[in-house]
């Protein structure tokens, strides 16, 4: 496959990218009732599965890892940086969840989006070119950003009914183990793709496009999360429900919003975990909410 600017980004690719972004945003908007019930009914295995699925479908984590992996060619370097990221996110994921330290997850995810922007900027040699300074120590930054990503994972995990007795630590550790397994799966795929691209003559062009894309995606994620924060911080200013509102946004991203044959959203590895699954053959569509709202007799 030739890596170029325009030829690679076919309309299908855009649909995939926007769909992936959208699925991540949906997760940010909440966890479906089905998932909640499954977690309540299930045990450590369910937490493990959710951790793995969240990492695999967590577009912000994936983009950041993609940025970290981008220029790494030696196996030892990959182990070094991924270990730093893993140590960082494990500390906050386990620690914050166990101690029940939480924050508005939109804000945490906004910060995570900034880490994606940061990595794209750094990969484009932005510090030297635009700030006339050397890039901060990458290993340290990856460790620090790992802490942020782990806190983001923790805020999500704390939306779920983690047991408060002795099982709590097992639930957290199961989720964390799932995250690590999901991360390994994602890394193997990324590494394979990058190895192919790194050996091609057009890699330099590709790297500019891809890292500029990281910045754009990071900014888009940042905007989504800040918008989401607006809902929680100024709920009364947003008259329509969060569910309907997310669908309104999906309509705005109509190109990116299509359904797979099984009813899940395009780009969603696990639609249900993203809080959004459609049954096979569902005739459900995302009409703009309230557009066909009947005029009802007012019961004041």
């Amino acid at each position: 496959m030739r890596v170029g600017c325009r030829s690679t980004f076919s309309s299908r690719a855009w649909i995939f990218v926007v769909g992936l972004l959208t699925s991540g945003a949906l997760f940010a908007h909440g966890i479906s009732e089905e998932s909640r019930q499954r977690m309540i009914d299930g045990g450590n295995l369910e937490y493990f599965r959710l951790g793995a699925e969240h990492m695999i479908t967590g577009v912000d984590h994936l983009l950041f890892l993609f940025g970290v992996m981008f220029f790494l060619t030696r196996f030892i370097d990959i182990v070094k940086y991924v270990s730093a990221f893993t140590i960082g996110h494990t500390i906050t994921l386990v620690g914050a969840t166990y101690l029940q330290i939480t924050a508005n997850f939109y804000l945490v995810d906004a910060f995570i989006a900034l880490t994606v922007v940061y990595k794209g900027f750094e990969n484009l040699d932005g510090f030297r070119k635009y700030l006339n300074t050397a890039s901060p120590n990458l290993l340290l930054m990856v460790l620090l950003f790992g802490l942020v990503h782990g806190f983001g994972l923790s805020t999500r995990l704390q939306q779920l009914p983690v047991a408060e007795d002795g099982a709590m630590l097992w639930h957290i550790l199961s989720f964390n183990l799932g995250v690590e397994v999901g991360q390994i799966i994602a890394l193997v795929i990324m590494w394979g793709l990058l190895r192919i691209w790194q050996r091609r003559g057009q890699f330099l062009v590709f790297s500019k496009v891809a890292n500029a894309g990281l910045i754009v995606a990071g900014v888009a994620l940042l905007a989504m999360q800040l918008h989401g924060y607006g809902h929680t911080a100024h709920a009364d200013s947003f008259p329509i429900s969060r569910d309907d509102h997310s669908h309104a946004h999906l309509d705005m991203l109509d190109q990116g919003h299509s359904h797979n044959p099984d009813g899940s959203h395009v780009g969603s590895t696990s639609g249900e975990e993203n809080g959004h699954t459609h049954g096979p053959g569902s005739d459900h569509s995302h009409e703009p909410p309230n557009s066909s709202e009947p005029s009802l007799p007012p019961h004041y």
Partner: protein, 276 residues
């Protein structure tokens, strides 16, 4: 778990009717904080519209009763304790001794007249399915007169001590009475409640339980923004407290009546509380 999101024509139909639409002019009492310190001045907001947006305030002359149940007693705040802004009314109250408080408001009945077509739309919109089915089969009216009133309560925890006032009857025509103190429950627990009409259990009543941002699906992939429940013969239903959130339980009890002023009488009831 008897009342989980489940398949079935009832759930599918409810989902289809209630998915994208917000219910119109439901009334809720919502507290900015459901866990408050003892001996502090607090406020609750009376919302008329949807759970997340109020469309109008409620004038005092429309309130048939305002009650606060605490410490085994029921008191009735005066009109002086109310104030309004452009779309809501607010009740100031004193959170005194520790305990679980219930604050309730019941409105006087109003009559609304509408065309049969509008009545059908309204029944569909509110998920009043049983009345809808019968009306569509048997209606001969050229206009429908409905007498409606609303009866809402919220449960607030003052200090740490739990008390039984959460289940206090306030004497409203329709009341939703929780079987457990919600502040003894953690999310992941099941909560059961009872629906009473004039003090007696209502069987087979459609009830919705939800919170802001609720997002479920039935087996057909339809979106559901609430658990859609039916009471059993004892007027009871139960559901899973699946999220840390401010929850509500809501119903519209509709009856056809033989009355010179009205063809139907509806009593709307809601209760709100927080789950941590």
């Amino acid at each position: 778990m008897g009342s989980r999101v489940k398949a079935g024509s009832f759930t599918c139909l409810m989902a289809a009717l209630l998915t994208t639409s917000a219910t119109a002019h439901e009334m809720f009492l919502k507290a900015p904080k459901y866990f408050v310190t003892a001996n502090s001045d607090q406020v609750v907001r009376l919302i008329n519209g949807t759970f997340d947006k109020s469309e109008n305030s409620i004038s005092r002359d429309r309130m048939a009763d305002v009650s606060i149940a605490a410490d085994g007693r029921i008191t009735h705040p005066t009109d002086d304790n109310w104030y309004d802004d452009e779309n809501s009314s607010y009740l100031k109250y004193r959170a005194g001794d520790p305990g679980t408080y219930v604050i309730g408001v019941s409105t006087r009945a109003s009559i609304i007249t509408m065309t049969p077509e509008d009545f059908v739309k309204y029944l569909e919109h509110e998920g009043i399915l049983d009345t809808l089915r019968v009306f569509e089969k048997e209606n001969t009216l050229t206009e429908v007169r409905e007498r409606y009133s609303k009866h809402v309560r919220t449960i607030v925890q003052v200090g740490g001590k739990r008390s039984d006032d959460y289940s206090k009857l306030l004497g409203y025509p329709v009341e939703i009475i929780l079987d457990q103190n919600p502040y003894d429950l953690k999310f992941g627990s099941e909560l059961s409640f009872r629906v009473l009409y004039e003090g007696k259990p209502i069987a087979n009543q459609i009830v919705r339980a939800s919170y802001e941002g609720f997002h479920g699906h039935d087996d057909a992939g339809n979106h559901m923004n609430s658990y859609n429940l039916r009471t059993d013969n004892d007027g009871r239903a139960r559901f899973l407290l699946s999220n840390k959130a401010v929850w509500y339980i809501a119903l519209v009890h509709m009856q056809k009546v033989d009355d010179p002023d009205a063809d139907y009488v509806s009593n709307w009831a809601t209760v709100t509380f927080e789950v941590k």
